[in-house]
Symmetry: C2
Subunit: 102 residues, 2 copies
Amino acid sequence: MKPYYAVIFTSLLSENTKGYHQMAEQMENLAKQQQGFLGIESARDNLGITVSYWKTLEDIKKWQANSEHLLAQKLGKEQWYQWYKVRICKVEREYEIDNQPL
Amino acid sequence: MKPYYAVIFTSLLSENTKGYHQMAEQMENLAKQQQGFLGIESARDNLGITVSYWKTLEDIKKWQANSEHLLAQKLGKEQWYQWYKVRICKVEREYEIDNQPL
């Protein structure tokens, strides 16, 4: 495995989520088109966790500076999120168990 | 910020989840008592994502080798999970936005 990078985005939504779900979907689709994008995984119950995976730190920087993404980040900060935390990580080791029938 | 480590555990449950939720809670409580434990965040809708945070790689190894945890891992592999993936990561950078009222 070549080392790659993960962005762990943990969040609590505010009461005002108007437009949020559409934007979240839009940003996920846009992320998938970016250079170095490897994958994305999301789950939410009360807390939301989204982890996106990238080839390099440079790819992550470019995605964070994408103009449409910057607008989404601004709206998120001002309206949609009560709290969020972003962690940029280097994936050092991984393993997987697959019991799914063929 | 001192560098620290994250274990990203992503999973799909099987149809047989008898005993799973109780064990998950028990393991979370046990993890919190381990050396080097820094925090844990979980969310599930279809996909489940649990991220636990640790001071060192050595602390993670010890937790993975904990005998009660080994039993839970065995049951998880055999019964509860259709699929899971574990990624061990080094957290290199982080930032946080807090709009919560005091």
